[in-house]
Amino acid sequence: MSMEDYDFLFKIVLIGNAGVGKTCLVRRFTQGLFPPGQGATIGVDFMIKTVEINGEKVKLQIWDTAGQERFRSITQSYYRSANALILTYDITCEESFRCLPEWLREIEQYASNKVITVLVGNKIDLADKREVSQQRAAEFSEAQDMYYLETSAKESDNVEKLFLDLACRLISEARQNTLVNNVSSPLPGEGKSISYLTCCNFN
């Protein structure tokens, strides 16, 4: 692992209804682009971006999934190995917000119980078309114990913050895990984040 030029590797999977802007969020963060007229994602897309946080290189493996129903069985297979899930909805689309409980059920069913879930309301540049108030989303995320953020992939609002904050939380989570696991021997079926860590960081 010392050959690889990063200190941490995390898998982040974006999920949510079709057309809420998952691909645009990923493109904005990884390439700094906002491609207008983005077609629907087919299956899953895969991007990598390495960021530096407090002098440590963090490699983020970002899986951008298709929101359409027919790809559900493909996207579900990625939940389990994810360190974090970004659950996205469109603030101008009530329907995408109303589907959130269904998405949470999927997470419950397929993801590891250690996964960090972030709720993201995208498209705040279209403020005049807003259908989901910030307060409603905040209350919902609080009830579900999720971190919550509103973004605009188009205006690049909060996009960087979303991914960097997430990376920070993943790092501290990973640190805690190794501390715990150094004391007691690992149990079977543990989350796999530990295996991603280079031990040299903590010894």
């Binding site: 077609g39 087919i42 897309d45 069985s73 297979s77 389990r80 021997s185 079977p188 079926g189």
Partner: protein, 781 residues
């Protein structure tokens, strides 16, 4: 200043001035009063005078040369005037020539202009003639039903410069031209109607030569889109007819037919092959008569029909194979764990294979049309701007991604993945439930079975040619192996290696004869207990082997998949990210191999602490009951009847035989490694509790050597290192005198690296009853 300080006569003249002016000023000479000074000044002035005289002479000598030069210059005067005149004349000539040249070139320009206008005039005259010729030609051709000729005339007319025609109409003969034009336009309309009608008739009659004949005429009339769309209509009808026929055949297929299980995949294949053949056959005509970049339009039309036919076939497939109901059942079975209405995974096998085959055919077909369209666009876009190229790429992506074929297949594959996952999980569960172990085998049946199943499922997903489908199944396999199957093995190991029974404990104490005796007795009284204990032991060992093989198999599976995938990718399947996606999913799978390794290590530690340690420890403790504080007589007695080590070795051997037979060589090796470490530690403990005479030390040395010699034969590890401390202790116990230690210590240690601290050396020395503690204390270590 210089003169004031050093006014001596030896000062060279001119040192403080140029040769022309004297170094001594008048005032200074007048102020001189001393005779010696005066003399000095005089002699200096004299010398200066001499120098000046010489210079004057030299200048005078040059006078004649200068005069000669002056004469020569005077002589050149008249010639210069001549040259000036010539130069002025030349300048005049140049100016004249220049004007002349400019005049000429402006005339040439005028000529050029005139020539161009002439050409234009000729062109226009030609065009007007052409127009008339076309008009006449069209009429004749139409009369003769020579539509190609008529179309060629119209094409000629259409390619004429419209502004020229407009200009011509304004001319004197405007009336005639107007009439001609009108006739031509009428002819054009007539021809269009005729061609369309004739094409439709030919199409209805299925007259391919006539269809192709009129198809070629459309572009001449500027009707590219109409031509392509009409021709496509004709081709689509052919596709539809053929597809209808094929579907009828499917319905009549006997279930015993060899291809019955994949009949829908075969039907799709026929459909795709038919369309591909049409594209192959008609691409040259389209290219020749419609130009490059038009194939996209043709295929776009064909794809609509293709989608329509695919929908029919897939609908039939779903209905005939009960695809949706099967999926529903699978989903229900996954939700509820009740086994009552669980669908039998084996029943899914054929349908899963057929779906992957259907998708593979679709991918192959889509790749074919993608390549054709790209190649056709490339020819047309060679000179095009980047935007046009991107635009075309967008058209293509849209066609490929949004066609019903793609969506339908994605839907089918979506269901497939869920069903394949179910198939895998249920079959693995079955393999676990039916796990059996044959004597003489290291592993039990489930390991081979489970990996056969996983390989089969991933292999089937791979055969669909869909990268996302493959990755999803790799992910599901990783989950299955990591959580479910590993859990099974973990639970087996958790039951532990049966704790040593009292009889087993005794077995260690008593001699070999007693072992046979007691086991005979046990056989009589408690066969069942022994058998179940033995079974539990064997189960534990087999599980250890299973875990190891799993870890290996995962790595093998990963390697196999890597090479399979690179084959698929090299054929051009999958997008730009395909490689990275597969690599990521496979590396997750490889990580599971390490988890199995960790489990193996845990199991071995368990075995070492529950099975080996409780046995070995009492055997080693027996050492304490053998006195090493001995004299000559006992020493030779020990020689004849070994008091401890031989029995210890026999016991060890007996114990390890069981493991050697039951464990894979690699695991056995690791286990013996753990055991030797254990022996070294335990033996050191008892050693430090004993006392030794000189001969007792020798006895221990002999014992230790025998033990090391034995252990060396059973392990492939180098065990000397593990016994280094004990060997050094034996050396100390064998010393003649306390001070002899200094021959081996510190600077005298030579190649020997001491593993004992000075305190430990003293502690061991103190075990010798014949060594005085004062001597030991006095040692400087």
């Amino acid at each position: 200043m210089a003169a004031a300080t050093a006014p001596g006569p030896k000062a060279p003249p001119g040192e403080s001035g140029g040769p022309a002016a004297s170094a001594l000023s008048m005032e200074r000479i007048q102020s001189l009063t001393d005779l010696a000074d005066l003399e000095a000044a005089y002699s200096r002035l004299c010398e200066e005078e001499k120098v000046v005289q010489e210079e004057l002479d030299a200048l005078l000598e040059q006078q004649s040369t200068i005069e000669n030069k002056m004469v020569a210059l005077h002589r050149m005067g008249p010639s210069l005037q001549l040259i000036e005149g010539d130069a002025q004349q030349l300048a005049g000539m140049v100016t004249f020539t220049c004007n002349l040249a400019e005049n000429v070139s402006s005339k040439v320009r005028q000529l050029d202009l005139a020539k161009n206008r002439l050409y234009q005039a000729i062109q226009r005259a030609d065009d007007i003639l052409d127009l008339k010729f076309c008009m006449d030609g069209v009429q004749t051709a139409l009369r003769n039903e020579d539509y190609e000729q008529a179309a060629a005339h119209i094409h000629r007319y259409l390619s004429l410069d419209k502004s020229v025609i407009e200009l011509s109409r304004q001319g004197k003969e405007g009336g005639i031209i107007d009439a001609n034009l009108k006739l031509l336009q009428e002819a054009e309309q007539r021809l269009k109607t005729i061609v369309t009608e004739k094409f439709d008739t030919a199409m209805k009659q299925g007259d391919l030569p006539q269809v192709e004949r009129f198809f070629k005429i459309f572009p001449l009339l500027g009707l590219h889109e109409e031509g392509l769309s009409k021709f496509s209509e004709y081709l689509c009808k052919q596709v539809a007819n053929k597809a209808e026929e094929n579907l009828q055949l499917v319905m009549g297929t006997d279930m015993s037919d060899r291809r019955a299980a994949v009949i829908f995949a075969d039907t799709l294949t026929l459909l795709f092959e038919g369309i591909a053949r049409i594209v192959e056959t008609h691409q040259p005509i389209v290219e020749t008569y419609y130009g490059p970049g038009r194939l996209y339009t043709l295929i776009k039309h064909l794809q609509v029909e293709c989608d329509r036919q695919v929908e029919k076939v897939v609908d039939k497939f779903i209905k005939e194979r009960d695809y949706h109901r099967q999926f529903q059942q699978v989903q229900n079975s996954m939700m509820r764990s009740s086994s009552a209405e669980k669908i039998e995974p084996r029943e899914l096998d054929p349908i899963l294979t057929e779906v992957t085959l259907m998708n593979a055919r679709s991918e192959l077909y889509l790749r074919f049309i993608k390549r054709r369209i790209i190649a056709d666009f490339e020819v047309g876009d060679a000179m095009a701007s980047e935007e046009v190229k991107q635009e075309h790429q967008k058209y293509l992506d849209k066609l490929l991604n949004n066609c019903l074929l793609s969506c339908t297949m994605q839907e089918l594959i979506g269901y497939y993945i869920t069903m394949e996952e179910y198939f895998m999980r249920e079959t693995v569960n079955k393999a676990v439930a039916m796990d059996s172990y044959e004597k003489g085998q290291l592993t039990s049946s489930m390991v081979d079975d489970v990996f056969y199943i996983v390989k089969k499922c991933i292999g089937r997903a791979l055969s669909s040619s869909s990268i996302d489908c493959l990755c999803a199944m790799i992910n599901h396999s990783t989950t299955e192996l990591e959580s479910d199957f590993r859990e099974v093995l973990y639970n087996k190991l958790k039951q532990g290696f049966p704790a040593t029974t009292f009889q087993d404990f005794q077995r260690g104490v008593t001699s070999a004869v007693n072992i046979m005796h007691s086991s005979l007795q046990q056989g009589k009284f408690d066969t069942k207990g022994i058998e179940s204990t033995d079974e539990a032991k064997q189960s534990f060992l087999v599980t250890l082997n299973n875990v190891e093989v799993c870890s290996e198999n995962i790595m093998t599976l990963k390697k196999t998949l890597e090479s399979d995938c690179s084959k698929l990718l090299s054929q051009g399947f999958g997008g730009e990210q395909a490689q990275a996606k597969i690599e990521s999913c496979l590396s997750d799978m490889a990580a599971v191999s390490n988890k199995f390794r960790d489990l193996l290590q845990e199991g071995l530690n368990e075995l070492n602490s529950t099975a080996i340690k409780p046995q070995v420890k009492p055997w080693i403790n027996l050492f304490l009951s053998v006195s090493h504080n001995i004299e000559e007589e006992e020493f030779s007695d020990y020689e004849a009847n070994d008091p401890w080590v031989q029995q210890f070795i026999v016991n060890l051997e007996q114990q390890m035989t069981e493991f050697k037979a039951g464990l894979s060589p690699v695991i056995y090796d690791t286990l013996t490694g753990l055991m030797t470490s254990l022996i070294a530690i335990e033996l050191e403990k008892v050693l430090l509790k004993s006392t030794f005479s000189r001969l007792g030390g020798l006895q221990f040395d002999k014992e230790l050597r025998s033990l090391i010699a034995y252990l060396t034969t059973v392990t492939t590890w180098t065990i000397r290192d593990k016994f280094a401390r004990l060997s050094q202790m034996a050396t100390i116990l064998n010393l003649e005198r306390v001070t002899e230690i200094l021959d081996y210590w510190g600077p005298n240690s030579g190649p020997l690296t001491w593993r004992l601290t000075p305190a430990e050396v003293r502690q061991v020395l103190a075990l010798r009853i014949d060594f005085r503690s004062e001597d030991i204390k006095r040692l400087r270590l």
